[in-house]
């Protein structure tokens, strides 16, 4: 069961792509993989003002992920708190996970030759911090949400 999600307040988002770079620099990624993405709809006039809605996408951390069972080396792991992550020690970079994922979320890190994906910065979470993209969001538009069963 997933315990977390990242929520984007589109009203505050200014499409500055800060989150994408905050993520990349935290994970020391080279040019190539981008683990989270900001996008927006084409502009449409609303009461005379051209407007748009922004969306944020990283990994859905599926309840029943396709990428986990397909991994031949058990490098793709779903943690108890729902986070789906790549065990870098075990990954052989075959990218079967990317093929299995409906959204091709896992990407190849050319610096290591292994798969890389959003893991909600679990090293930071485990220290009581928030993911890099949320922590440094330019306008505090991203929120890290802990889900609770009601």
């Amino acid at each position: 069961m997933n315990r977390y999600m990242i929520h984007l307040n589109s009203k505050r988002c200014i499409g500055c792509h800060g989150c994408e770079v905050h993520c990349k620099t935290n994970k020391r990624l080279p040019v190539g993989p981008i683990l989270c993405e900001i996008d927006h709809e084409p502009l449409k006039p609303v009461k005379g003002v051209p407007k748009t809605e922004f969306s944020f996408r990283s990994c859905y951390h599926c309840d029943d992920p396709f990428c986990v069972p397909v991994c031949p080396t058990q490098a793709m792991v779903k943690r108890e708190d729902g986070i789906v992550y790549v065990d870098q020690e075990k990954c052989i970079g075959c990218m079967a996970c990317a093929g299995a994922c409906p959204w091709t979320i896992p990407q190849l890190n050319p610096a290591t030759g292994k798969a890389i994906k959003c893991d909600y910065c679990m090293d930071r979470l485990d220290q009581g911090l928030k993911p890099a993209c949320v922590t440094k969001c330019t306008t505090h538009a991203l929120k890290f949400v802990r889900l609770e069963v009601v």
Partner: protein, 705 residues
């Protein structure tokens, strides 16, 4: 070893406060200072890590071997480079006088160091980039309020209505102010945005005016007319502090909202509805007087009109309005020492102060030195030291600038990266990046004045030096070392803080020292006398200084020229992921935005057979430069204009990522190096027309063998 360092960002000139984490001399994390920005940082700020790692920057001093711009460099040691420069500076000084040397910088809190250097050398010719930035706004404010552009801070958070004429807050980012604006909107405030195209800021607006390019002045005049007609102004404030109101009332009579609407191509009822809102929101309405407003031939008067709208609102020293920044004295603090040397009593080479008496003498106007280079009047200009300033990217027509700079015997670029000017210069002194260097302490005025400082987070990766050391070393060799009373940065900090009771260690807790716990109270509204430093001490609608210079204070409106057939007005701007010409080669920012595109109106594009994503050739009016980029076809730009992001089309081969990527707007501005505003001083950067056609490079068929 792990450490945490408070510092100041250097990816753009906003210089946001940051906190940097370092492990074994490697930056692992940069975030906005949590005490001031709650960790927030923009894409550029995070990409600072890639700047340090980037090896496509000057890594040791370089002296030119081949012809200027040929790109053949001799790698030299620092002493060799310093000796080379000082030997030439001494020769130029003895042959032409010290005043023949100009130093330009990008302004900012440390400019006193550069000013001290050039003044101590004997030249009055310190200048900066502002003739292509905020000079019109600065001079407009001086002419009305007697204080410059920084004479007010905008209390955005508490305002009810922000009115932005092209001030694109969410692309030309200032993180603190941007968040204030969003907070204000979250609280139900209003944002009116005026531009020739829709922008990231405009999409957050509650009202949007897409105007014909160059008609901002008409819209502002129409607003003034209606505000005066309806009496929506602070009569008491105007009676007490303002002169020339009657003249304004007479002048504005003919500029009705109906006229403005027609001129700008907007709806009259939208202007009237806007004024209804202003009536509800005043005095907490801020008309932003412009940031980079060196655009149209009447930009100075646009800024004046916006300042006048603020005066009508009576929003000065009002919560949610324009606040007079408080300094060290307001906190009972004697202030810190800054490097200083009196300006030599020689008239400036750009004519500011004697030929042009209505301009601020501080940094003068960089573009007016070109005339002196050409004519040697009032005297020859023989050397130019560009401190982080890139005249070739900032000002129009680098092609022509090169011919003019060829009159100089010495061109020096001090910069962290290769600038276009640096590539043409005789010597490049590579400054360490902002993460690899210390900068002096500075005072930041505001409602809570504070001392700020940039501290080195990591040791320089290459053989680069901090600015304070470069100027000290040059000063020592030029026998002016008494103006630089330090050997190490610790000496300089101790000298700056002497007698204040503070030490540099006091910055370690939060990265700054607050001179007051609580925001300082506003000055009382009936005690503002002495705040407006005009000749009369009042807010002058009719400026004595302008009148004496033979210039109008209330300039009748003149409609902008329409682009000739087949041409468009070139309008430039910024994106949130790049800073002018500084960041195009940064690997992580280049990945986000490798080149610029050409915004073109859908109907205009259809007439030319241009579809979205097509390659288009954009050519200067005199065909001196042409570039090919992709078209972004949209209805949200005025049909007379095309728009692109500034800073691209760079021609430095060692910057492999940005080399010839995209299109350079300043190279398209044919004849615009001399097209400047005699009243405001700035260059008119949006007065160039360009040809646009669908490029023959769009593939029709493939021929491989």
């Amino acid at each position: 070893m792990k450490k945490s360092v408070y510092s100041m960002c250097g990816m753009c000139t906003v210089r946001c406060p940051i906190r940097v984490e370092v492990e074994d001399n490697r930056v692992t994390w940069i975030e906005g200072n949590p005490h001031l920005l709650d960790h927030a940082l923009c894409a550029k700020g995070s990409a600072g890590m890639a700047l340090v790692d980037d090896d496509e920057r000057p890594r040791q001093p370089l002296i030119r071997e081949g012809g200027r711009g040929a790109g053949r460099w001799q790698k030299v040691s620092w002493p060799t480079a310093y000796d080379y420069i000082t030997e030439r500076l001494k020769k130029i000084k003895s042959e032409y006088g010290p005043e023949s040397v100009v130093l330009s910088s990008r302004g900012g809190p440390w400019q006193n160091m550069y000013k001290t250097f050039i003044h101590a050398f004997g030249s009055p010719n310190y200048t900066n980039h502002d003739c292509t930035c905020g000079r019109n706004t600065h001079h407009a404010s001086l002419s009305i309020n007697g204080v410059g552009r920084k004479g007010f801070i905008y209390d955005i958070k508490n305002s009810r209505h922000m009115v932005l004429f092209g001030r694109n807050y969410f692309a030309s980012l200032q993180i603190a102010q941007g968040n204030q604006l969003l907070d204000m909107l979250d609280k139900g405030g209003r944002l009116t945005y005026v531009d020739v195209r829709q922008t990231m800021t405009g999409i957050k607006a509650t009202r949007f005016f897409q105007v014909r390019p160059g008609t901002d002045y008409a819209l502002a005049l129409g607003m003034i007319h209606e505000i005066i007609k309806r009496g929506i102004y602070d009569k008491e404030f105007i009676d007490r502090y303002v002169s020339g109101f009657d003249e304004l009332c007479t002048f504005i009579e003919e500029y009705t909202p109906a006229w403005a609407a027609k001129e700008c191509g907007v709806k009259e009822k939208a202007i009237l509805a806007f004024i209804d809102e202003v009536a509800e929101d005043m005095p907490k309405v801020i008309f932003h007087p412009g940031w980079n407003l060196s655009r149209y031939k009447d930009s100075f008067y646009v800024s004046r009109a916006l300042h006048l709208l603020n005066v009508l609102m009576g929003n000065i020293e009002v919560e949610g309005g324009l606040i007079i920044p408080k300094g060290a004295g307001d906190c009972g603090f004697k202030g810190i020492r800054m490097l200083d040397c009196p300006k030599p009593d020689i008239k400036r080479g750009d004519g500011v102060g004697w030929k042009y008496k209505h301009f601020d003498k501080g940094p003068g106007l960089a573009h007016l030195f070109f005339d002196a280079m050409r004519t040697e009047d009032p005297y020859p200009i023989k050397a130019w030291i560009a401190m982080r300033h890139d005249p070739f990217t900032g000002m129009p027509e680098p092609q022509r600038q090169k011919l003019l700079f060829d009159n100089c015997d010495l061109l020096v670029s001090i910069d962290t990266h290769y600038s276009e000017f640096g590539w043409y210069a005789d010597v490049i002194l590579p400054e360490s990046t902002y993460l690899e260097r210390d900068n002096p302490i500075a005072l930041q005025k505001g409602t809570k004045p504070r001392l700020i400082v940039r501290r080195k987070a990591v040791d320089p990766k290459y053989d680069t030096k901090p600015g304070w050391e470069i100027f000290k070393q040059l000063a020592d060799r030029l026998d002016i070392s008494e103006y630089f009373p330090y050997n190490t940065i610790e000496d300089l900090y101790a000298w700056q803080l002497e007698g204040t009771g503070y030490s540099i260690e006091d910055f370690e807790e939060k990265g700054f020292i607050e001179l007051t716990d609580k925001p300082l109270p506003l000055y009382e509204r009936d005690k503002l006398d002495g705040q407006f430093k005009t000749p009369s001490g009042k807010i002058e609608i009719i400026s004595k200084k302008l009148t004496e210079a033979g210039l109008e204070s209330l300039k009748p409106y003149r409609s902008p020229n329409k682009p000739p057939k087949g041409m468009f007005r070139l309008v430039y701007g910024r994106s949130a992921v790049h800073t002018h010409g500084h960041t195009m080669n940064n690997p992580l920012l280049e990945e986000l935005m490798p080149e610029n595109s050409l915004w073109i109106n859908r109907r205009a594009a259809a007439k030319l057979g241009i579809e979205d994503g097509d390659l288009v050739d954009v050519t200067a009016q005199n065909a001196s430069y042409s570039g090919t980029i992709h078209a972004y076809v949209t209805e949200f730009i005025h049909p007379e204009a095309v728009y692109t992001v500034h800073g691209f089309g760079r021609q430095i081969p060692l910057q492999t990522r940005s080399y010839h990527a995209g299109l350079s707007d300043q190279k398209l501005m044919a004849g615009k190096l001399d097209d400047w505003d005699k009243a405001g001083g700035a260059i008119n950067l949006c007065e160039a027309f360009v040809f646009v056609q669908r490029s023959t490079r769009n593939p029709k068929r493939r021929v491989e063998l």
